[in-house]
């Protein structure tokens, strides 16, 4: 009883703090100074139509690098904890044939859609993280349809390492050939709004997408337990 009272007191305290924070909020009608700089000089400097992409890949590119590193650490720890052991008890029921046939059509389509999303990240909504998540979803569908699939963690590791390495290499190239780390103007900016534009942003986003997709697929693949063939 006294425990519940303490819980409610904690909750009320948090609510009062939050209400104090919210009381100073009045809906903003114009951009702040930083945002104004990004909006006004972003299209000329980076050439990306999607300003969120411009902020993620170039202005705050170092954050993205750290974020991808966090994901890598998470995938490594989960791989350490979830060593897949061969299943001992009796195999489950057979997977429905409709699902396997559908998955044969849907899995490549899903992966292709993920690739489309991260290639077009600088023009339309989407980007490396979304595309990587969609690729991992396709991977999860594949694991659901073929539970005894022999997925090669080695290939995933290679894709992840190579894309992460290339991401850093492009960033370092920016120091020598352009203004700074992860500067995208090492390639010509091109026509604003076309597919081959915005300098190195599409290439960096492709690498981010491959890396995020490989890491999330690694997480899903380690949570999944391989089953015996029926």
């Amino acid at each position: 009883m006294i425990k519940k009272l303490i819980y409610i007191l904690v909750l009320v305290g948090a609510g009062i703090i939050m209400a104090q924070l919210f009381a100073g909020f009045s809906g903003s009608t114009e951009l702040s100074e930083t945002a104004r700089y990004y909006v006004e000089s972003g299209p000329e400097e980076t050439g990306a139509a999607n300003l969120v992409t411009a902020v993620i890949v170039t202005y705050r590119g170092l954050d993205t690098l750290g974020e991808v590193t966090i994901l890598f650490t998470v995938a490594a720890i989960i791989a350490f904890f979830m060593k897949t052991r061969e299943q001992r008890d009796k195999p489950k029921r057979r997977v429905s044939e409709i699902l396997t046939t559908g998955a044969r059509i849907l899995v490549p389509g899903t992966m292709l859609f993920g690739a489309y999303i991260f290639i077009n990240g600088h023009l339309s909504p989407g980007g490396g993280f979304q595309g990587g998540a969609i690729i991992a979803s396709g991977f999860a569908l594949m694991l659901l349809a073929f539970p005894q699939a022999n997925l090669s963690h080695k290939t995933i590791r290679w894709v992840e390492s190579i894309s992460g390495f290339s991401f850093v290499i492009i960033g370092v190239l920016g120091i020598f050939m352009a203004g700074g780390f992860l500067d995208n103007s090492i390639l010509p900016l091109g026509n604003f709004g076309s597919l081959f534009s915005a300098g190195a942003i599409p290439i960096i986003y492709i690498f981010i997408g491959l890396k995020v997709g490989a890491e999330l697929s690694n997480v899903v693949g380690h949570m999944h337990e391989k089953q015996k063939e029926i």
């Binding site: 209400a19 919210f22 903003s28 114009e30 104004r36 909006v39 000329e44 995938a75 989960i78 997480v219």
Partner: protein, 123 residues
């Protein structure tokens, strides 16, 4: 009416979601329900951050035919919180997966999901 605006409503929704998640974390005994509380807390924080970056009657921060370069600054919403939330969501998934891996491991050691059974570090 001043309070009946889009950003106020989403801000209050996010705040209540944060409180609900906090209540789930501190009051539940089941480990998986605590992880669910964490993910609700995450969602609430993201909603709060996005609604702070909203500009009234703004459009999405993507330049195309409707929004040109010259007077974009007066039309679009703040792109900075969106970029932050985008990375935060992905990290949130990583943290959730990590917590679930720990939960599975703890259950393997003790055979229970109840938080009161884990007394190894209690003094």
């Amino acid at each position: 009416m001043e309070i009946f605006q889009l950003e106020y409503i989403t801000l209050i929704t996010g705040g209540l979601l944060v409180l609900t998640g906090l209540w789930g974390i501190i009051s539940q005994k089941n480990l998986i329900r605590m992880v669910i509380g964490f993910s609700l807390f995450d969602t609430g924080l993201h909603v709060i951050m996005i609604s702070i970056g909203y500009i009234r009657n703004g459009t999405a921060p993507i330049l195309d035919k409707a929004v040109d370069k010259v007077n974009a600054a007066g039309q679009i919403v703040d792109p900075l919180p969106q970029a932050l939330v985008l990375t935060a969501i992905v990290i949130g998934l990583g943290v959730t997966a990590l917590m679930l891996a720990y939960v599975v491991r703890l259950h393997k050691e003790k055979g229970s999901l109840n938080i009161t059974n884990f007394k190894d570090l209690k003094w």
